[in-house]
Symmetry: C2
Subunit: 311 residues, 2 copies
């Protein structure tokens, strides 16, 4: 992936996405001893950075493929992102979701114009349902994180952040399926000035931390984390980029996730998902590393069930 790939991708998706605002907080800076720039993709269309990658992946399809639509299986933000991106571009989206997904999520997908297909709540059933749709309709399967076009799209958040302030020294992002951190690492490489990318991952789902140590893709036995956007694991498209470009991954406890989420809500006055709070938790538990540094943090999404908060 070259610098030009990322520039072309950004130009391609610009008409469909927001260049989201960057917020700062004197109180959080005092608390951490560093200078933090929060790139607020919770204000992105449909409420998460996933809109970027979904848009790029659809726009990169051939006209022939666009006619047949796209399909994915997801119970998270990628389902909504693919629905809205497809609608904006004029393409049909089939979304396979486990029947156990919340009504809020099902309604959101339908609200954005996606065609919802429910299946049994296990990975095999999801994959099978998506395959069936791809075969019967000719729709292209798009993966939420292990897809080069998706990775490039996700990288545009970090690109915008470094265009906002190119003296940022570290960019911290949460690690789930690996699309955001791989894209951010490419953006930091091409648009930063010696800017390093660091991941933040729950102790409970630390496959990326272990993968970076062992040099091969590790899996998770369980995924007991409140950060529901981070329960997924790395893939063969994003791991090579992560392995080459990401400096380190910091693991975060569940208590630290909730504590830093509350700090963001209270001090920045924004609604963000538990997943978004891991980078701030990483700074808070490594104050010496980040002291007096300019730190960028990508707030990845804001789709939260307000009736089910951890505080």
């Amino acid at each position: 992936m070259t610098k030009k790939n990322l520039i072309d991708c950004h130009n391609r998706i610009k008409p469909f996405i927001h260049n989201t605002p960057v917020l700062t907080s004197n109180q959080i800076n005092e608390m951490t001893g560093s200078e933090i720039y929060f790139k607020c993709d919770n204000f992105q269309k449909m409420g998460a950075f996933k809109m970027r990658g979904a848009t790029n992946a659809i726009l990169q399809l051939s006209d022939e493929n666009k006619k047949n639509g796209v399909v994915t299986h997801s119970s998270g933000n990628f389902a909504q992102a693919l629905s809205l991106a497809a609608k904006s571009i004029g393409v049909k989206a089939y979304i396979v979701m486990p029947s156990s997904a919340t009504e809020i999520k099902k309604t959101a997908v339908k609200g954005y114009g996606g065609e919802l297909i429910e299946c049994e709540p296990n990975l095999k059933a999801r994959e099978k349902a998506a395959n069936n749709i791809a075969e019967s309709t000719g729709a292209t399967f798009l993966h939420p994180s292990n897809d080069i076009e998706v990775i490039l799209g996700q990288g545009t958040a970090c690109k915008e952040l470094l265009e906002y302030n190119d003296s940022i020294e570290h960019v911290l992002v949460p690690v789930g399926g690996g699309g955001l951190i791989a894209g951010s690492a490419l953006a930091a490489k091409y648009f930063g000035k010696n800017c390093t990318v660091i991941g933040a991952e729950p102790f409970e789902v630390d496959d990326a931390y272990r993968s970076l140590k062992s040099g091969k893709i590790e899996t998770n036995e369980t995924a007991n984390t409140i950060a529901d956007g981070l329960k997924t694991q790395l893939g063969d498209k994003n791991f090579p980029i992560i392995k080459n470009e990401v400096k380190s991954i910091i693991r975060i406890t569940e208590e630290e996730i909730i504590e830093s989420m509350k700090i963001i809500w209270e001090r920045l006055k924004i609604i963000c998902e538990p997943s978004c709070s891991l980078p701030l938790a990483a700074v808070l538990k490594n104050k010496e590393t980040f002291r007096n540094k300019k730190v960028g943090i990508i707030i990845s999404g804001g789709n939260v069930d307000l009736n089910n908060l951890p505080f």
Copy 2:
């Protein structure tokens, strides 16, 4: 109050305040049929527009008076605003608060450097305590809303909004003590193009609605509203401006306040106080009036106790 007064005030306070972002939401626009620009003063320093007026009022004191400090009685955002503004300018702030105020509020005032003086939880005790301090220290008493310099300061939020988009046709603001709506009315008059200012007030504390009808300052018998920032009433400095410049005041039920607050949290992904949601409720219940209009809404503050939400 002239256009020049407002321009001078804005230039004076600019080094001490944020020009806060303006957010929009396609979903809310679809829901209302209008084009809404949310001016997010929940992102203002200390989390509310009150920072603007407090800063201007202190900066307008003589050097002699600055030496003796400032005093107010408030259990709300003005207490925090005066504390932080005074600290930023290098002036002492005495804050009289009822002993019944929450620990969060007391801690916030002390955190911003204000000297907290507790008193019995009634208006008489508050006024007496503030008077005693003014007499013994020579500190200048500053009122949260019924003060010309405070009113001018509060008007800068609307001025910034109209500088962001000068084709906004209506600006809607919540009405409490009257400082924000009076200042906004002046800003709309001087910086808008036929822009009208409309208030939104709880049915439960509708003194401003009744005052506009009767032509004289009316009082409230009770104040049973969740919008705790709006329990106060108009004063002799702001009412003449409101009477001349404000088109109308729309009354909102408690259910409508909570419902529109939830819409703002869910769709805009921002944390705002119940008071902030009244303008959106006013648009939602008067869709025909605002259909296809460009509407500005001032999100007045974001200091919410996350452990005590209405949903």
